[in-house]
Amino acid sequence: MAGLAARHLLGLAEMEAEEINLVLETARPMAGVMERPIKKVPTLRGKVLVTLFYEPSTRTRVSFELAAKYMGADTVSIAPATSSVVKGENLRDTVQTLEALGADMVVVRHQTAGVPGQLAGWLSRTVVVNAGDGMHEHPTQGLLDLFTIREEKGRLVGLEVAIIGDILHSRVARSDIWGLTKMGARVRVAGPATLLPPGLEKMGAQVYHRLEPALEGADVVIALRLQQERQRQGLLPSLREYAASFGLTPGRLALAKPDVLLMHPGPVNRGVELAAELVDAPCSAINRQVTNGVAVRMAVLYLLLGGG
C-alpha cells in the first residue's frame, strides 16, 4: 500500500491492518538510523512539528521531538501553562494560530478524549497526531507496543497478550486492544471489576476478574500504571490490596509461557503494578519499548509528512 488513508493519526480503531503493517515495516529502517553514529537524515528538512501537550509528559514529548530532529525537522514545544491558553484562548483559536504560524504537524496530548479529532476538524493543512487523549487512545504507544512485540516474537498472529490493571482509565489499553486484535493476536484483559469498563468483549478482548487465569500461557504481558487517585475515587480499597491482587511478581509471571515478554508503557510504579525486580528482568522489554517508540514515531512522521 502507498500510504496511510487518513491525513491525521487519531487512533488505531480507525486504521486498517495493512496501514498498521505499513507503519511497522517503515519503523524498521528508522531503528537503523538511530544506531548510526550521526543520527540525522534530511528526510523532513524544512518541516515544522509542534508538540502541544496539555498534560505533563516527558517520554512521549521527548520521543516525538527526537524523532522529528533525527529526520531533520524543526520542533517547537508548547506547554499550555506558559502560553496564551492560560489567557483563556480556546482550542480552535490555539490550533488555527499554530497553522497560521506554519506548523506542518501538531502533536497533541489532552486530558479530554476527542480533542485531537476536534483540532483536525478545524485545520485545513496542518496534520494532527494524537499523543494521548483522555481515556480514548494513544496510537503511537499502541504502534510501538505492536512493533516491540513483533521484533521480539517475530510475529503477532496467534499470540496471547494479557493486559493487566486499570483498563478503564487507560488509553494505551484501548489502542493496544484495537491494534493487537486487528493484527491477529488474542487479547485478554484483567483487573478489578471497578477498573474494567463495559463493552471490552465487544472490542474483541476476553475479560478476567482474576490475575492468574489471565496470565496462564500468555506470550506477552502488558502491565498498566495504577494511579494513586483511584483509591481516593473509591475505585479501590487501597494500593496495597491492589498490589496483592493484581501486582505482577516473578512467581505469578511463571504462569505465563517460559519466554514471556513483559511490557509497560511507563512510568512504572515499582512495587504496585510490577515488583521492582521485574523492571530490569531479562523478560522485560520496557527499555526497548522506549527506544522503539522513537523509531515508530519517525515512521509515523515520515508517512504523514514526507512519504507522499
Binding site: A13, N90, L91, R92, H110, Q111, T112, A113, G114, V115, G117, Q118, D133, G134, M135, H136, E137, R171, R174, P197, P198, G199, L200, K202, M203
Partner: protein, 435 residues
C-alpha cells in the same frame, strides 16, 4: 402591527387530538383571537383573511413543556425574545421555561419579571416554572405559594435533581396542595459520577466518562414511590431509558399520578451518535443505546409516556467549541422538534399524526392545567399549520435560536411547520417570521 380580526383557514386536514377530530377538508374560523368554529365550507366573514390550507395539517399550536430561555443571566445563550421566536419557527405557540436562570426563578420577583418580559418580547406564550428549592440547592423549599401566585405553572429544579428524598417528599406535598405539578429531573448525582455520556460500549471506545442508566432509573423509582407515599402528582422530565419507561408503565397501571415526557433527540439518536465527538451530542440525560430508543418509541406509542418536549437547551458557539468534558450539556431543540417527530415517528409509521400531535398539544396542556392545546370553539386561537410533505435539510447555522448546538445538522427532515398563529395573530408564515 394590526391584529387580524378574523381569519378563515380553509380546506386543511384539521387534527384536534383534544376532541378526537381528524377531518379533511375542514375549515377553522378565528374571531378576535379565539377559535369561533370548526367545520366544512365555512363562509368567510367580511374582511376576513383567508388562508388556503389545502395539503396542510391544521393543528392546535404546539405546547413545549420543557424549554430553557436563559434570560435573565445567560443572554449570550438565548433570550426570551430569541427563544420564543425560535419556538414560533418550530410551530410552538406555548412553552414552559425552566427556572435555572441567574438569578434562578426561586422567588416571585424573578418569576414575575420573566412573565412580564415574555409579555413584552415574546413571540409565543411563555408559562414560567418556578424552582422547587431555594437556589436550586435541594435543601429548603422555595416559596411555592408566592411563586404560583406570580404565575408559576409548575415547579422544577431542572438541570439538577432534588437529591434528598425527604425534601422531594415535602415538595410534592406542598406543590400538590397548590394544584401544581412537580417536574423531576431524575438523576442520582453520585451514580452519575461526573459522566459526560451514557456508560456503555461507546463510552469505553471513546474514552469518555460514562454515567450509567441506573443514575436515572433509581431516581425514577424514588419519584414513583414518593408519588405513592404522598398521593401527589409528579411529572418525570426527559425520560431516557427502557427501564424508566417500564417503571412508569407499572406505576400508571397501579393508578399512581405519574406522567412522563421524552425528547425528540432521545427518540431519534442513540449513543453511537457521540462517536466523532460532535459536542452537540452532549446532553443530559445522555443519548442511550438503540434498545432504549426503541423502548421509548414503544412507550410513547403505547401511551406510557404522554408528552414530547424539546428540552431546548441553547448554548453559545464558543461554549460548544471546547473539549467534550468542558462543553455544557444541551441541545437547541425547538426548531427541529416537530420535523424530527414527523420524520422519525410519523413518516416511519410508528405513530399516527393525531397521537404525535396530542403529545405536543393537549397532553402537556392538561398536565399543566393550561388553557391551550385545542381547537375547540372558544379556545385561544393558537394554531400551527404543518406541511407534511415539505422536506428540508436542517442547517443549524440558520437557526433563529442563538443556540446552534444541534445534532440534527445536515439531516433531511419532512413535516415542517409553515404557519404559526398565536392568539389569532400570524407570527410565522411560509418559514418566515413576521416582524
Amino acid at each position: 402591527m394590526n391584529p387580524i380580526v378574523s381569519l378563515l383557514i380553509k380546506g386543511g386536514r384539521v387534527i384536534d387530538p383534544a376532541s378526537g377530530m381528524d377531518q379533511e377538508p375542514a375549515d377553522v374560523l378565528v374571531l378576535e383571537g379565539k377559535i369561533a368554529r370548526v367545520g366544512c365550507d365555512l363562509p368567510a366573514p367580511a374582511g376576513a383573511r383567508v388562508v388556503d390550507a389545502s395539503g396542510r395539517i391544521v393543528a392546535p399550536g404546539l405546547v413545549d413543556m420543557h424549554v430553557h430561555l436563559r434570560e435573565p443571566g445567560y443572554e449570550h445563550k438565548e433570550t426570551i425574545a430569541t427563544g420564543t421566536r425560535a419556538a414560533a419557527m418550530g410551530g410552538i405557540t406555548s412553552l414552559v421555561c425552566m427556572p435555572n436562570t441567574d438569578p434562578p426563578a426561586d422567588n416571585p420577583g424573578t418569576l414575575a419579571w420573566i412573565a412580564a418580559r415574555a409579555r413584552e418580547t415574546g413571540a409565543a406564550r411563555v408559562w414560567p416554572a418556578g424552582c422547587i428549592t431555594k437556589g436550586r440547592r435541594g435543601e429548603e423549599l422555595a416559596e411555592m405559594a408566592s411563586l404560583a401566585a406570580a404565575g408559576a405553572v409548575a415547579f422544577s429544579d431542572d438541570g439538577f435533581p432534588v437529591a434528598r428524598a425527604g425534601v422531594m417528599r415535602r415538595a410534592l406535598e406542598y406543590a400538590g396542595s397548590l394544584g401544581r405539578v412537580v417536574i423531576s429531573h431524575c438523576e442520582d448525582p453520585d451514580l452519575a459520577g461526573g459522566g459526560v455520556m451514557h456508560e456503555g460500549y461507546w463510552s469505553t471506545v471513546l474514552g469518555l466518562v460514562g454515567m450509567p442508566a441506573a443514575a436515572e432509573e433509581v431516581m425514577v423509582a424514588r419519584e414513583i414511590i414518593l408519588a405513592r407515599l404522598t398521593g401527589q402528582r409528579v411529572h418525570l422530565a426527559h425520560l431516557s431509558t427502557g427501564l424508566s419507561a417500564a417503571m412508569v408503565r407499572r406505576a400508571r397501571e397501579e393508578g399512581l399520578p405519574v406522567t412522563a415526557e421524552v425528547t425528540p433527540h432521545h427518540l431519534a439518536l442513540s449513543d453511537a451518535a457521540v462517536a466523532g465527538y460532535d459536542t452537540s451530542t452532549k446532553v443530559n440525560p445522555p443519548l442511550r443505546p438503540q434498545e432504549d430508543v426503541e423502548a421509548l418509541r414503544q412507550a410513547l406509542a403505547g401511551g406510557v409516556v404522554q408528552v414530547i418536549a424539546s428540552d431546548h437547551a441553547p448554548h453559545a458557539a464558543q461554549e460548544k467549541e471546547q473539549d467534550f468534558d468542558q462543553v455544557p450539556f444541551g441541545i437547541s431543540g425547538v426548531e427541529t422538534m416537530l420535523p424530527v417527530v414527523a420524520t422519525v415517528l410519523v413518516k416511519s409509521g410508528l405513530l399516527a399524526w393525531s397521537r404525535a400531535l396530542a403529545a405536543m398539544t393537549v397532553k402537556p396542556a392538561r398536565i399543566l392545567g393550561l388553557p391551550v392545546g385545542t381547537l375547540e370553539p372558544g379556545a385561544l386561537a393558537d394554531i400551527t399549520l404543518i406541511d407534511p410533505e415539505l422536506e428540508m435539510v436542517v442547517d443549524r447555522d440558520r437557526f433563529v435560536s442563538l443556540g446552534h448546538n444541534s445534532p440534527f445538522h445536515g439531516w433531511k427532515l419532512s413535516g415542517w411547520p409553515v404557519m404559526t398563529i398565536v392568539g389569532g395573530e400570524i407570527v410565522m408564515d411560509g418559514r418566515q417570521l413576521l416582524s
